[in-house]
């Protein structure tokens, strides 16, 4: 960080603003130096002998602040950490004093979602007494697919916790909302409502009083089920001492409100707090800060840009920090990047025309593959012309759909790093790693063993694999018949005979006679390696064992070049996961880790994050991971309706404090697909419009990561933009007139 670079007048005002005043907000568009002003303010506070909390709404933001502080003199009194760390410390200390036997344990969202699934098991097996006594009807919206229901319930509960809404508050709000809505239903015949509703859902507005009463009854059952799940989930977390970051904030805030004397110990000497990306703060973070620093947040500085608020549908409330600040200083001078790019991107948000030209290039490809080739070729050309790979970013809306782009870049030997909302186990290299580990832990796991046989370290032909899958001519007769199981072909273990046969052929060589010499040698080497790993398993720590296996398999065959290094980086992340797992569970076995990996592989994609890895690579990021970063050159591919912006697909049930629960699907003896309440509330709250406004802000945030050059591309023909906007065409139209 260049601490010596001169500050603008506005930045100087922000830096010099008194610390003992009520909260300050530093606002401004991208590139105006908000984070820099915040850091300088932190340095000033440090210089004055104050203890500083320098933080951000997300862990990614905190990591970026840490990076910017790197290289400066040791700053012992600047604590650069997530806000929830303070909360966690407070809850843990308090709990330990009262229940010495209970240790508070930090967990992530994936683990917390599993807790909810566990408490939901009795619901899905209809074992609740309320079902037996017919107090609750289980036919509620979303319940036809219990796994998805549980995932939706977890997302809702997480938002409720982040909004500091307890199960009791939730129940009260839901019943209040239901009573208000069904007690005095709105006018479903309103022409505006009718015209705003998609044709296929208009039948939901043709409701009789009897049908409304029926939907009311279904909604009450949904409320009862969700309240009970919420209560059981919170109780389970408490009983086991488990704390997600949001849970820590929730409990800590309530604790401070009940016992104000805990405030000083919780602060641990911190005098001032400086919070970046404040537009992404959730109510629990804001309320915790208020509990620590007082209602008017004396000593707290927020920095951010409401124009980049992309987390409101996830529960963030930008109005808290910026609406309540005693003083707002808006930075206007764009210090880094091309102001023309910022103006051009701003036009997408404002749906207006930009003034003048901008260094933005557009490309519409025939196909996704063609588009990926364009991105890779252009990136390669820029690198050849002198742009360091680390100064190039490809920012996508959904990282899970970026595999084609990653492949195209690697095919040109361009080093790549990936970060954002993505499951590590979706990558082939990580799946290969799990397969290699599984070959030791459970060689009868059919799908993983097959993956080993095809993997580069064995690379057997289809004919050899077919041979290994079959019965050898001299197969020993089974002593007893395996019981007939109900077949679920979606599960890996649905055919035990098949599993046993392949496993025995690979491990014991029962089919080797039918293999070619080359195949026999390869499988023999693999068998030998497996036996050696079995020996090592008895004496090596799990981390060292796993590392050994991965080095002899995936890493040994990763190859050189960009693809090999990409594979290596993914395997390093896998090994880091194993390390973290062993730290949490020192006595765990390889089986335990693989069971955990299986559970994580099935997790809700919204709950898993991939942190940035190597420097010096072209970064493939999603919008959230790109926030706060800047690059010479940015690609925004797949900017088409349905991809960027994503289509608005409402959850199975929504909640607002005013309307309570809003079930989407009309269940039971229904005529229409959607409930009348859902159709009405979507119209009333303009939810679709708000969603697309947030997608525009996401585009703005992504586009303004570019300092010098922005490439915006899409494939196929544009739609008319009726369902969702065609942002590339809007931007192109605005810039070219």
């Amino acid at each position: 960080m260049n601490a010596a670079a001169s500050a603008t007048d506005d930045q100087s005002r922000a830096i010099a603003y008194p610390f003992d005043a009520a909260s300050l907000a530093i606002a401004g568009p991208p590139g105006t130096g908000k984070s820099l002003a915040l850091i300088r303010r932190a340095l000033r506070a440090h210089g004055e002998g104050r203890t500083v909390l320098l933080s951000a709404a997300s862990e990614r933001g905190v990591a970026q602040l840490r990076e910017r502080l790197d290289g400066l003199e040791p700053l012992g009194r600047i604590r650069c950490e997530p806000i929830d760390q303070l909360a966690f410390g407070l809850v843990r200390r308090h709990r330990r004093e009262r229940e010495p036997a209970c240790e508070s344990v930090p967990i992530d969202d994936v683990a917390a979602a599993r807790v909810l699934e566990e408490v939901g098991l009795q619901l899905f097996s209809l074992e609740w007494s309320e079902f037996i006594s017919s107090e609750i009807d289980p036919e509620i919206t979303g319940m036809r697919a219990p796994e998805r229901f549980a995932a939706a319930a977890y997302r809702l509960i997480r938002k409720l916790r982040a909004a500091l809404i307890s199960p009791q508050d939730f129940r009260a709000a839901c019943f209040r909302g239901a009573t208000a809505f069904y007690g005095k239903p709105p006018n479903f015949s309103s022409p505006e409502l009718f015209m705003d509703t998609q044709q296929k859902y208009r039948d939901s507005l043709h409701v009789t009083p009897a049908e409304l009463a029926r939907q009311h009854s279904r909604e009450l059952d949904l409320i009862k089920i969700l309240v009970r799940l919420y209560e059981a989930y919170a109780a389970a977390l408490w009983a086991r001492g488990l704390l997600t970051p949001v849970e820590a904030l929730y409990q800590a805030t309530h604790l401070l409100r009940e016992v104000p004397s805990l405030r000083e110990p919780a602060l641990g000497g911190i005098d001032v707090a400086l919070i970046d990306d404040a537009q992404d703060l959730v109510p629990a973070q804001f309320a915790f800060l208020q509990a620590l620093f007082g209602e008017r947040l004396h000593g707290v500085t927020f920095a951010g840009d409401e124009g980049q608020a992309t987390r409101t549908f996830a529960g963030a409330r930008p109005d808290q920090a910026f609406g309540n600040a005693s003083e707002t200083i808006t930075l206007t001078f764009v210090q880094r990047g091309d102001p023309a790019i910022v103006r051009a991107a701003a036009q997408v948000v404002a749906r207006s025309s930009a003034a003048g030209a901008a260094p933005v290039e557009f490309y519409r490809a025939e196909s996704l593959r063609d588009e990926a080739r364009f991105v890779a070729a252009t990136a390669a050309a820029r690198i050849a012309a002198g742009t360091p790979p680390g100064e190039i970013a490809v920012i996508v809306r959904n990282l899970r759909c970026a595999q084609g782009l990653i492949d195209a870049l690697l095919a040109r030997n361009i080093p790549v790093d990936v970060a954002g909302e993505m499951n590590l186990y979706e990558f082939a290299a990580a799946q290969d790693g799990l397969a290699a580990l599984s070959a030791l832990a459970d060689p009868y796991r059919h799908d993983r063993l097959l993956r080993n046989l095809e993997a580069p370290w064995l690379n057997l032909s289809d004919a050899s694999i077919a041979q290994l899958c079959g019965e050898p001519p001299d197969a020993q007769a089974m002593l007893f018949e395996l019981p007939d199981d109900e077949i679920d072909e979606t599960q890996p273990r649905w055919d035990r005979k098949r599993d046993l046969r392949l496993g025995r052929n690979v491990v014991y060589g029962e089919a080797d006679a039918g293999l070619s010499d080359e195949a026999r040698q390869r499988i023999g080497r693999f068998r030998g390696a497996r036996q050696r790993w079995e020996q090592l398993e008895r004496r090596l720590d799990l981390r060292v064992l796993a590392r050994t296996i991965l080095e002899e398999t995936v890493l040994a065959t990763a190859g050189n070049g960009a693809r090999g290094r990409f594979t290596g980086a993914l395997v390093c992340r896998l090994m880091a996961r194993i390390d973290a797992f062993v730290r949490r569970r020192p006595l765990a076995t390889l089986d335990d880790f693989l069971a955990e990996a299986d559970a994580v592989a099935q997790a809700d994609p919204e709950l898993v994050l991939l942190e940035p890895g190597r420097a010096g690579c072209v970064r493939v990021l999603d919008v959230e991971a790109a926030k706060g970063a800047e690059f010479d050159c940015v690609f925004l591919p797949d900017v088409r309706a349905g991809a960027f912006p994503r289509y608005y697909v409402p959850e199975a049930f929504l909640f607002t404090p005013r309307y309570g629960m809003i079930p989407k699907e009309n269940v039971g003896d229904a005529r229409s697909a959607r409930t009348a309440k859902f159709t009405y509330v979507l119209f009333r709250l303009k939810t679709r419009e708000r969603y697309y406004a947030e997608e525009r802000r996401a585009f703005y945030c992504a586009a303004t990561r570019a300092r010098e050059r922005l490439y915006v591309s899409a494939s196929g023909r544009p739609t008319k933009g009726m369902g969702a906007p065609e942002l590339l065409e809007e931007l192109r139209g605005g810039l070219t007139g």
């Binding site: 899905f124 289980p138 899970r400 890996p492 991809a643």
Partner: protein, 210 residues
């Protein structure tokens, strides 16, 4: 039970009851219009075509009381063609062989098959509106796009039969090195080998909202 959880079983049972009510209403209305006799349910269907044995099960067979013509009926709980012309296109493009196969099975048994019918039972909220095709000897005119009823020519059913034989020959007699990978990543959800597969199609955003 066949369902992963008790709740799924219970909800499926309720849906089935609702669907059954609508089905019965349709069944009775159809009988009132043109009386028929149900001559078979879950009827085994086996046919040797050029040395290849094909087997299946016909959900229901009706014989018209007045004309003696047989209707082959297949119940569908998944997504089906939305119109007769769409179904004919599926047969012509060799996407669907089921009803043509049943036609040939029953013809070989001596029946005069006059109609082929797909009965959708997916959505209990909707009235049962089957896709119904009258079998005609001459090349059939193309029905209007969204009509549930229409005709299908014997020549089209013959072409489907020929293609079935070709495919059977390919599968059993020829050496297939590999099957092409699907381009639809959603299909992988149902595949028992998805974790083994090194060629899974890439995920891409849906083009149309659902």
């Amino acid at each position: 039970m066949g369902f992963p959880t008790q709740i799924e079983f219970e909800l499926a049972r309720r849906r089935a009851r609702r669907t059954a009510k609508r089905y019965l209403a349709w069944f009775l209305e159809r009988y009132r219009r043109a009386p028929f006799e149900v001559i078979g349910t879950e009827e085994s269907a086996a046919l040797d075509l050029d040395g290849y044995e094909f087997i299946g099960y016909i959900d229901r067979l009706d014989r018209d009381d007045r004309t003696g013509a047989v209707t082959v009926i297949d119940y569908k709980t998944g997504t089906i063609a939305e119109s007769a012309v769409q179904y004919r296109d599926d047969v012509a493009s060799f996407v669907d062989f089921q009803l043509p196969f049943y036609y040939w099975v029953r013809t070989a048994c001596g029946d005069r098959v006059g109609r082929l019918m797909l009965v959708p039972l997916k959505d209990p909220r909707l009235e049962v509106r089957p896709i119904e095709l009258e079998v005609v000897p001459l090349p059939a005119p193309r029905p209007s796009y969204d009509a549930p009823g229409g005709t299908i020519g014997i020549d089209e059913l013959e072409r489907a039969k020929v293609r079935m034989i070709e495919l059977a020959r390919m599968l059993s007699d020829e050496r297939i090195e590999s099957f092409p990978v699907t381009s639809d990543p959603e299909v992988c959800t149902y595949c028992a080998y998805r974790d083994a597969c090194r060629n899974r199609p890439q995920l891409c955003e849906e083009r149309f909202a659902h």
